[in-house]
Symmetry: C2
Subunit: 249 residues, 2 copies
């Protein structure tokens, strides 16, 4: 049992101290959902293995009264299994399976294109000691050898292609305040984590000012005392509308 109701979370942060990893973001929300106070240990992209005494080379990692758990999905399952008397994150197998589906859809639809639109910002906003690692790992692993600058170039033309693709999410949220129904659950935290990641790096907005998703995203960022309102986050809304040009569905 977490001592004094506190769980330690190893965070992955930018120079501003703002969380960047969508996986850490959803773990932060999951811990709050379960009613825990969080002892945050901020870290950058490098030195994770040493920091966690060899336990993991990726974050998030939590330590619950001496018990270490890694991987955001495994952490969520651990929290429900260990603390079933607290508000649940998941409700049965279908819920888990379908959460993976909508999360995979949103990554393919939003993070995939936004990644190249903000990859230079992502680098510039990271801690100075992480710059070399961020550049070399991202250029090699995710950008097929292209530079951060080449990848981000022309984003003004690419950004307007994304909002129309989010229509299925808008449709779903017409009929319900949360994907969890009357209150949010882990599905919402997965979806919100995509927008939280984006707000941590987006120096120009990816969504239009009048996007109906704004209501949901604002309510999500405001949860748990404004958990998503960390200093250093950027405004998601204000992408200019294409002038007299139809968007394609």
């Amino acid at each position: 049992m977490a001592q004094n109701n506190r769980i330690t979370l190893y965070d992955l942060v930018l120079a501003s101290g703002c969380t960047i990893s969508p996986f850490v973001w959803r773990t932060k929300y999951a811990l709050k959902h379960k009613g825990f106070d969080i002892d945050l240990v901020p870290n950058g992209f490098t030195g994770i293995k040493e920091l966690t005494n060899g336990f993991s080379d990726r974050l998030p990692v939590i330590v619950d009264d001496g018990h270490w758990v890694k991987d955001s999905w495994a952490i969520a399952e651990y929290l429900d299994e260990k603390y079933p008397e607290r508000p649940m994150l998941f409700f049965g197998d279908s819920h888990k399976i379908l959460t993976k589906f909508i999360d995979g859809w949103l990554w393919a639809t939003a993070i995939r294109p936004w990644f190249t639109c903000y990859i230079k910002d992502y680098h510039d906003l990271s801690r100075p000691e992480d710059h070399h690692y961020v550049r070399s790992s991202r250029e090699k692993l995710f950008l097929g050898g292209r530079t951060l600058e080449e990848s981000q170039a022309g984003r003004e033309q690419r950004l307007p292609l994304v909002p129309p693709q989010l229509e299925p999410l808008r449709l779903l949220l017409k009929d319900t305040p949360w994907l969890g129904g009357k209150s949010p659950n882990y599905t919402d935290y997965c979806i919100l984590a995509v927008f939280l990641w984006t707000a941590s790096v987006a120096t120009i907005p990816p969504l239009h000012a009048d996007d109906p998703l704004k209501d949901y995203i604002d309510r999500g960022f405001d949860l748990y005392g404004g958990l998503g309102r960390h200093p250093g986050m950027h405004n998601l809304f204000g992408l200019p509308k294409p002038a007299a040009q139809e968007t394609s569905a």
Copy 2:
């Protein structure tokens, strides 16, 4: 309480007697999931209002011991509410909300393109007395005034575009036998209904012979004594592979 465990279902059928409506298909599966025997009343596309004494102009409609219910989603909710002691179709709000999401995704991804690929088959396979209605309603409401023949033309070029788009469903089914987890639930019936609709009209196959979805679809069609194996159904697997040509993700 259903007398003698029987519920009446007004079916929407082709000349072969095979169900065509995906909404009726999922209601058939839902009734079997809840353990009912079905008294099927077969109908075509026309005369539904008269047949149901003005209760509905669309199918499915069920009659449970004199109580009439219409709309496949409302029927599923009715069955769970009225018979909670029988196996449940839904598990909480998130399950319903996310089922709508994956169902909407599959309609946009598969039924939308397949509709025009099989719309002439759909007409030709319907009951002769429905031909006029099917042609005029589909050409006016769904095809923007194009004829069935114009719409279906060129399908050999369009069909190969669909299977690569189903990859998110394949990925999901790598880790679970059913979208319900260890056993199927209403999510599976919604997904299977799309393929059951397609099998009812597809005179040439829409999926490749080695599609990993075949295992799931076959198991789904075999449920409840081969509920999806009605005479008149077509083989879904056998679409020729593009020769030495990469498919795009």
